[in-house]
Symmetry: C2
Subunit: 514 residues, 2 copies
């Protein structure tokens, strides 16, 4: 490991000489079930899937390395496709926001204490400070005020993708919380509130398609309690999944902004009758970072990542099994590897042969850490056969791949991989959602890290906040996530709020958060 | 136009009412050949191809609107494809750079007076200032020092794409110079200088493939004079094209960094013999913004943009020609439009029917402004035929498209479009490259805005700078661009430097710059 290496150290030269022909130390040394936090750190690091480098030198700012970047880019692409299919057009706004715009909406101004401020250009002090965007609303809506004139300009549906935003978070963690993090935002304006609410349902469907159908990350879409809405929103809806330590991970949020921002920034239109009205606004943020964190954590196992085919940068890694002192045999093996690679390149699967130095065993471990769905092993026997050995990342089962039916068989294996990934995630999610009727039960479950807890609760309006605060204190951090957005469970007759004992109006979900 | 509109103005309501059913005013009111600067401004604005909005409210920071963003995204994709094929892996670095890293390389520290500085997080003053990256070297190379250990780690070839960088430019212009602008950078490390030089040739080939072969933007790849190299580089190579006002537009640069940065940031490796050495570094920056500016300016005509098929967000726009009071006929027209759209969707061409309100004439103008390569017109006659009318954006010629051979014929028309685009650009480029033997000739050509001028010159080393300064003064801004990187012209026997009269060592290219 290069960690902490001092470049000026004269002994380093010697150390390098010795290590020159040795393999880089890789592998995860803890079990995910026993020490999730350490497991996660290791998976993200060079000894794991080499996803990020946290040694950039500015706390909370990390380098995204190629393997992570390729996965993240695919998540962006999946979302872009759905978002554009839903009628959104892409744009790109400046990274900086003038201070007066950032704080114009009084609730939203709550972001100000956590933004980074640009004060100077060179040695010259700026007339007014510029914020690095913590999110896009206050950059974008003043322009919407210029762009929207008549009802014919509505709905206006735009998004920006592959951008980063900046918040001065107290604690940071790769893909969970960063001072600069990858972001995605749609910003829509409608003539009516009904259209805005319909968009929120569409946002939910897009999340479902990308995150659950494609990436196999189960989640519940909640309506958040009023005390936990986005700064400036009327209502916030959000999807939460359960992490291996039982905590909820918010994977997206979508906000009903009502007229709140429209009134402040002048987002207005003239309707069919010539009357000037405010637009109803929504914004949707699939949490690129949080989806990545869920992907790593929920699917991964003690050997590293496990990737769904939709985002795996490589679907199939081919490992040549060669033997020293057998150049003729090895030549055949290498030839066969290249043949199989060419064969697979003609299919929809991405493939690579690992011709690097290193033992087959080292390579197996490496590509398991990286989560590549399949590995093909080609040794002397396979080099003369129409069948090669294929190993699935989840099951580690060795199966045969008939090279004469390669696409058909790969389709079948890939389908099994996807099904199994979904099954594991679904079982895990279902198994970690429990019901409780009393605070005592909630506390017991939370202590055992059991994910979501359903419980009767008094109110989702502001008057419920006191109970939520008490719940949080009693459970060392249990939050009221909200009620299900669709098919919300109703309390049974006579069920009482687990905190105040008043009649329960809702079955809420409770979990600890990051 | 909404420009300068006062939202609080009570008369605005009335104005809106009147304009409600009228069309937005579009169109370019000047000729490109007569007033390029104004033509460019109009093409970029809402009355043109609606590429940017300059009213963001922070000088030099613009909003990239959907049409521009989609074109830019395709330019990025074209580059990503070639850059990855050449073995580069993508990564993403933080946007911020600690001050001590930015200024560590003494020449490169010349960027410091033009960077934006982050001083505070919330109300808390940062211990050390952070710069918004003006370019990536000083962010990236300290990490390379950690990542590279042995010769086996080389070559290291990485890139970042779809990012922005920040420089406090005095004057700005959409896609030419911005305080935040779209950026692309590769950063490579090699064991030997020869490999580094070979990479520079490869970078040139990639530029040639994307910018010339695909986007039909002719350019010359120069070796820059020593006095015009990148801050911290040993040598700079760059591609320049000619803009309609005769000025050169630098579309890419690639730098031979030698050991300059490696020594400062400790980018070292242990070679086969166990010896510690510095890496040879190169970096390559295709100028996304400048390529876009060239695309707009070189291909565009008095009616707006003209797009190559490789980056056109829409290849074919279908315009229904309907008549008021003829609902039966119109229904057939609309049906036919949808049929043709479905037919074309099965090909490799992207298509859209413009069903918006507005006359066909308005729509013709609009999509010509946007540079869509082909328009199909479908009226009552076409609605009952297997042939429709297709019009090319460059020639405006009306031709027939046989719907029974749609893909084949579209291929043919597209090929013609590409050929013509290339021919126009080549002729323009060639026609604006002149030779001169004396300063007087140079001055005469420069006054007439004739693009590149080839002339004999004394030296590309630092001793030539005095002559370059004098040339600039004498010609009100003529710069020595350098000598051709490959197949550089040699001075004839006895030719003298146009400034100092000493024997000429080079034929240099001269042009004014932005």
């Amino acid at each position: 490991m290069t960690n902490g290496k001092d470049k000026k150290d004269k002994t380093a030269n010697k150390e390098h000489k010795e290590e020159k022909h040795s393999e880089k130390k890789i592998g995860i040394t803890v079990k995910k079930s026993e020490n999730f936090s350490e497991w996660y750190t290791q998976v993200c690091s060079e000894q794991g899937a080499d996803l990020v480098d946290v040694r950039y030198g500015v706390a909370g700012f990390v380098v995204h390395k190629p393997w992570a970047f390729k996965i993240l880019r695919r998540i962006y692409d999946l979302l872009d496709y759905e978002i554009e299919k839903d009628g959104h057009e892409p744009f790109l706004f400046p990274t900086v926001i003038p201070e007066e715009n950032l704080i114009k909406e009084k609730e939203h101004a709550g972001f100000a204490p956590n933004v980074f401020w640009i004060s100077h250009a060179g040695e010259e002090k700026l007339e007014r400070r510029l914020a690095l965007r913590p999110t896009g609303e206050t950059a974008i809506y003043p322009m919407y005020a210029l762009w929207i004139r008549s009802y014919k300009d509505l709905p206006l549906k735009r998004y920006q993708s592959r951008i980063t935003v900046f918040r001065n978070e107290a604690t940071t963690r790769p893909f969970m919380r960063g001072r600069e993090f990858m972001f995605y935002e749609t910003h829509d304006v409608f003539a009516t509130h009904n259209e805005a609410l319909a968009q929120i349902k569409t946002d939910m469907k897009i999340m479902n398609k990308v995150t659950y159908d494609t990436l196999k990350i189960p989640f519940i879409f909640f309506k958040r309690p009023k005390w936990d809405k986005f700064l400036g929103a009327v209502d916030t809806y959000a999807s939460d999944t359960i992490m291996p330590d039982g905590k909820r991970n918010q994977c997206s949020s979508t906000h009903d902004l009502g007229h709140n921002f429209a009134k402040v920034y002048g987002v207005e239109f003239v309707d069919e009758n010539g009357e000037r009205k405010h637009g109803y606004q929504t914004c949707f943020g699939p949490g690129i970072y949080r989806i990545m964190a869920a992907l790593i954590s929920i699917h991964g196992d003690d050997n590293g990542l496990i990737l769904p085919t939709a985002v795996a940068p490589i679907h199939i890694i081919i490992i040549p099994i060669t033997f020293s002192g057998k150049p003729d045999v090895n030549e055949k093996v290498i030839k066969k590897c290249k043949e199989v690679e060419e064969l697979i390149k003609k299919t929809t699967y991405s493939v690579k042969v690992d011709f690097d130095e290193g033992t087959p065993g080292y390579k197996y471990n490496k590509w398991e850490l990286f989560g590549v769905p399949f590995r093909i092993e080609i040794g002397p026997r396979e080099s003369e056969s129409d069948e090669v050995t294929i190993v699935n990342r989840i099951t580690k089962e060795k199966k045969k791949l008939n090279l004469k039916k390669v696409e058909m068989e790969l389709n079948q294996y890939a389908e099994e991989h996807e099904k199994l990934l979904k099954k594991r995630a679904d079982e895990y999610f279902k198994g970690n959602t429990k019901e409780a009727s009393t605070l005592k039960e909630v506390k017991k479950i939370i202590e055992e890290h059991r994910g979501f807890i359903m419980a009767p609760f008094c109110s989702m309006e502001h008057e419920g906040e006191k109970c939520a605060d008490k719940l949080k204190a009693e459970t060392q951090g249990g939050d009221v996530l909200g009620v299900k957005f669709e098919n919300a469970e109703a309390p049974k007759k006579g069920q009482k709020c687990i905190i105040c004992g008043k009649e329960a109006k809702h079955i809420v979900y409770i979990a600890k958060s990051y």
